[in-house]
Amino acid sequence: MSQQSADRRGEQPKWSWWYLLFVVQLVAVVWPPFYNKIDPTFVGIPFFYWYQLLWVIIGAVLTAIVYFATEE
């Protein structure tokens, strides 16, 4: 691949502490006893449902943060 040498710059495959943000969303959803309940409801939606949907959004934001923090 001839353009490969031109691409060879930017991020190194090194560990970044920012990756720990991924652990946050993991922990938030792998423990059902924490969210398997009805109250508090949000506009009539039980906690079980809105809590997990909320974490879809938070997860996307955390991933975006990791992206901008680790991309050169």
Binding site: M1, Q4, D7, R8, R9, G10, E11, Q12, P13, Y19, F22, Q25, L26, A28, V29, V30, W31, P32, P33, N36, K37, I38, T41, V43, G44, I45, P46, F48, Y49, Q52, L53, W55, V56, I57, G59, A60, V61, T63, A64, V66, Y67, E71
Partner: protein, 516 residues
């Protein structure tokens, strides 16, 4: 055909005509030489962030998903929501591991995961195992897309007896096969844009309109039986529904990006950066899937299962009819047509990508490896095009002549099988530590054990493990991939000592290949 919903059908056919045109016109989009397999089968690896978003979104969130997950919510309630933590867990995996796979595949012109494993571990038999697993796991998945299509065609009242009953499905499939053959991956990529816009419109309309008509979320959730509203709290000696829920989410998340169609979507991106960006953008689809899962609960509250006009649909399609019935009940016919077109087109996009992925696997990792070592570029892409036709034909025959429950059982097994490629592919992008034969043994043990466990549980997804009176029902894919890993780790030093006195097989890659 007395009860055909002509308005819905007209909208459906119109939208289908539009995407048929798009599918053929796509051959000229970002024009490349379609006689090269990476042009036909990976769209020339030129899709930027946005197209990749549509393509992978259309690829992973399939028509079957949009029918079956709400159907599970309708039938079983809260457990179906495992799809939400599942889709939360997949994106860190996509972000971390798969840009590495993209880079090494781009560097070496690998177009399948098996190409990578062949290069990394230098073992053609391990690569063959990855190939066969990929093809076999994909076939029932394609067949299930047709189930989604069948349900919406049925919902528009199109029916008949004998051959006529299957005619609409056959027509849809001929269209799919023709544009995939002529345009390759560019066809589903362009169609995915239309399909995804339709799906978003449909999902948000359902989540806004239906609750208003039913008198708000409070009333809806009050109408759902308590047993379905939350997960059952497990007893003292078991992890019960909690364990099922979490292991389903984790196991499905680990398996998802190993599917050939996922890898085809990822490898068609133009850069590792486009993949990382998508890890933050694709949750948009997860949110929609979560909302559509709620729609399954709406269908409980609306009581569509008890309405006489839908009794025939439920009888024929079971709970899969819940969402179509809800749309027929709450929306004008023309909008039901839009919704059904979204699902119908939503079946074609992943079916096209899956057949391309299976064709790439056969062409590169079976035909080229074992039959014709030096095909010309044209021969190689020609074989892939023909195999994509054969794969789709196989799926069509399967769905026409084999009862749907078998397809669902096989798709469940497909998940258990594909996850067994995790050590070679997903860990392989990080480490060459594993012995290639140890990986093959781990794959074999995991596959055999997983198949036997699923069969013994009558093809339900979980298998109860018992320790000292404590019961852990675990998603079989997850428990068997752990077994697979244990075998691979234990045998690696043994096999290295026995066979590799002269050094390991050559690793065709170097560390710098894995990043830009």
């Amino acid at each position: 055909m007395a009860d055909v919903n002509w308005t819905a059908l007209a909208v459906f056919v119109l939208l289908f005509g539009l995407i048929t045109y798009l599918g053929f016109a796509a051959a000229r989009w970002r024009k490349g030489d379609l006689d090269l397999i990476h042009e036909w089968g990976l769209g020339g690896r030129r899709f930027g962030t946005l197209i990749t978003w549509f393509l992978i979104g259309g690829d992973l969130y399939t028509a079957y998903t949009f029918i079956a997950v709400p159907a599970l919510a309708f039938g079983a309630g809260a457990i179906a929501f495992f799809a939400v933590p599942y889709t939360i867990l997949i994106y860190p995996i996509l972000f971390l591991a798969f840009p590495r796979l993209w880079h090494v595949c781009h560097k070496h012109n690998y177009i399948t995961a098996a190409d990578f494993v062949r290069g990394r571990f230098g073992n053609r038999w391990l690569a063959l195992a990855i190939t066969i697993t990929g093809i076999v796991a994909t076939m029932p998945y394609i067949a299930l897309q047709l189930v989604g299509l069948q349900v919406v065609i049925g919902a528009m009242g199109v029916s008949g007896s004998g051959l006529a009953a299957d005619l609409p499905l056959v027509i849809a499939f001929i269209i799919l096969a023709a544009f995939t053959y002529s345009s390759g991956l560019r066809a589903p990529a362009s169609i995915a844009i239309v399909k995804d816009i339709l799906i978003y419109i449909t999902a948000f309309a359902a989540v806004i309109v239906v609750p208003i008509q039913l008198g708000g979320f409070g009333k809806i959730f009050a109408a759902v039986p308590p047993a379905k509203l939350l997960l059952a709290v497990p007893g003292a000696d078991t992890t019960g529904a909690y364990g099922v829920y979490v292991t389903l989410a984790i196991g499905s998340a680990c398996a998802l990006f190993l599917y050939p169609h996922s890898i085809t979507g990822i490898l068609s991106a133009s850069s590792g950066k486009a993949i990382r960006r998508n890890a933050a953008m694709l949750p948009g689809y997860s949110l929609m899937l979560g909302l559509l899962t709620l729609v399954g609960l709406f269908a409980i509250a609306a009581g569509v299962g008890a309405l006489p006009e839908y009794a025939g649909g439920f009888k024929q399609f079971g709970n899969n009819f819940a969402v179509p019935a809800l749309f027929l009940h709450f929306f004008p016919s023309w909008f039901a047509g839009v919704a059904f077109a979204a699902v119908g087109i939503g079946a074609l996009v992943p079916a096209a990508i899956m057949s391309i992925a299976a064709a790439n696997l056969y062409t590169r990792n079976i035909h080229r490896e074992f039959f014709n070592k030096n095909p010309t570029d044209r021969e190689e892409s020609q074989i892939a095009k023909w195999v994509s036709l054969i794969v789709k034909l196989g799926a069509l025959v399967f769905i026409l002549f084999v009862p749907t429950p078998y397809a669902i059982q096989l798709q469940l097994l497909g998940g258990i099988w594909i996850i067994q490629t995790l050590p070679s592919v997903m860990l392989g992008v990080y480490t060459r530590w594993f012995n290639d034969w140890a990986l093959l043994m781990g794959w074999l043990v995991g596959t055999v054990a997983g198949t036997a466990m699923a069969a013994s549980m009558n093809f339900t997804p979980t298998y109860a493990l018992s320790f000292a009176g404590y019961t852990l029902p675990v998603y079989t894919a997850l428990s068997t991939v752990i077994l697979n890993l244990i075998v691979a780790i234990a045998l690696t030093p043994v096999f290295n000592a026995m066979f590799n006195k002269g050094g390991k097989p050559v690793d065709g890659t170097v560390p710098a290949d894995y990043y830009a």
